[in-house]
């Protein structure tokens, strides 16, 4: 599980859903959609420290323009380690918020030609981010 510390910037609530904007680093503001409101989860207030959790297997790696995808969260990283399996491969990226682990299909690894020291965007959909105070 990837886990990063940040703080809440903004909470937008509609019905029982909230869109939470979290600052994780200087250039990294991510959003998470949660089935909670500031009433049901009192920690959902701007300024509150929060951890953002997501699975390695939910990370999408991208070499192109991130604005052409319906994925809200992205972060630039440099490939630090590659452990290639037959079906799945594990990559460790160096990013401004720390080391991020991605597990992707080995075929994608080949297709994208991912290797050490390459620059890549790590992307995560907003419904995959778990928030924990």
């Amino acid at each position: 599980m990837n886990s990063f510390n940040g703080h809440i910037l903004e909470v937008e609530t509609v019905g029982n859903l909230s869109l939470v904007r979290v600052a994780l680093g200087k250039n990294t503001q991510w959003v998470s959609v949660v089935l909670d409101t500031p009433q049901t989860a009192p920690y959902l207030v701007p300024g509150e420290d929060i951890r953002v959790l997501f699975k390695e297997t939910e990370v999408i790696l991208n070499l192109q323009d991130p604005n052409l995808l319906s994925v809200d969260n992205y972060l630039k990283g440099t490939v630090k380690e590659v452990e290639a399996g037959e079906i799945l491969s594990r990559l460790v990226l160096d990013t401004e918020i720390g080391e991020l682990v991605a597990v992707v299909g080995s075929k994608s690894l080949k297709r994208l030609g991912l290797a050490r020291n390459m620059s890549v965007l790590a992307m995560v959909k907003m419904n995959e981010l778990i928030l924990a105070p």
């Binding site: 599980m1 998470s32 959609v33 949660v34 089935l35 909670d36 989860a41 920690y43 959790l53 699975k55 390695e56 297997t57 452990e83 290639a84 399996g85 037959e86 079906i87 799945l88 491969s89 594990r90 682990v101 597990v103 419904n127 995959e128 778990i130 928030l131 924990a132 105070p133």
Partner: protein, 290 residues
């Protein structure tokens, strides 16, 4: 309110330990004592029930002093209004269920309480049976009812469900909650099962080396309810296997085994038998009509 403020030097095979307690448990609360074996949980129950005498301090329950080392007050276990349920049912094997329950009546006490308890824990069909003909869960229901015959103010449960299988355990938990509410009890549970603790108690005290090292509301204590993952269960790690670059952890949740893919560091931090939360956001699971 149960106010405990005491010390007791304990000797065990592993050396000596100072039990040093300061607890305030509100009337009507359901609290759990949590901690590793030898942390002082059972000793805490024993000093409260009068089976173990503290060296110093006081125990005051709802305004009545049960123990005061300075004033040399020490109520006997019989004088303390406590019902005690252990893992071992400790029923009289030669008596029927009804006889076991009636044996606990005090002199002159009306038998109506027995019928009331029998109705609550649904023992009506077994009244004339001997304990040996009952299942473990049924025997523990008898033990639970027996502990309440004298209308105690405090119910103490020391690993009461450890010997039962999951289904039985879950049913007994319902009965425990039922009697806790019906008799307005203050209940103290010792358990190693996190799922059970979260399900039953309002407040948790973690003991270590004879002291309370942490306390909190049940939902906050294990930091479980305080994240945005809505699809959440507790379970026990029963298998860890490496598959290529990932690890697959099998977790026993209720009667089912679920498999969870994890990264290396998480998998290596787990040991078979560990209690874990299995959690995911409400967005991930799919539903299909059966």
């Amino acid at each position: 309110m149960i106010e405990i403020n005491l010390t007791k030097k304990l000797r065990s095979t592993g050396g000596s330990m100072l039990l040093d307690l300061e607890l305030k448990i509100k009337k009507g609360e359901f609290v759990s004592l949590y901690g590793v074996s030898g942390a002082g949980k059972t000793c805490t129950l024993r000093v409260l029930s009068g089976l173990l005498t503290p060296d110093k301090g006081r125990i005051v329950v709802n305004g009545t002093t049960w123990f005061d080392a300075g004033k040399k007050i020490n109520l006997s276990p019989q004088q303390r209004k406590i019902g005690y349920v252990f893992q071992d049912y400790a029923l009289f094997p030669n008596m029927t269920v009804r006889q076991n329950l009636e044996f606990a009546l005090q002199k002159g006490q009306s038998k109506s309480i027995v019928d009331n308890l029998v109705a609550i824990v649904e023992l009506g069909d077994f009244l004339n049976r001997k304990p040996s003909t009952l299942s473990g869960g049924q025997q523990q229901r008898v033990a639970l009812a027996r502990a309440l015959v004298q209308r105690p103010e405090i119910l103490i449960l020391d690993e009461p469900l450890s010997a039962l299988d999951h289904k039985m355990r879950s049913k007994l938990q319902e009965y425990i909650l039922k009697v806790h509410n019906a008799f307005n009890l203050t209940t103290i549970l010792v358990s190693h099962n996190i799922g059970e603790i979260v399900k039953l108690s309002n407040h948790i005290y973690e003991l270590h080396n004879g002291r309370v090292v942490r306390e909190g509301k049940a939902l906050d204590f294990f930091n479980a309810e305080r994240n945005s993952a809505k699809f959440r269960f507790t379970g026990e790690v029963i298998h860890i296997e490496k598959e290529e670059v990932i690890y697959v952890v099998s977790v026993l949740v209720g009667n089912s085994v679920v498999k969870v893919v994890t990264d290396r560091e998480e998998a290596l931090a787990l040991t078979l038998g560990d209690q874990v939360f299995v959690a995911s956001k409400a967005f991930n699971p799919i539903l299909e009509r059966i």
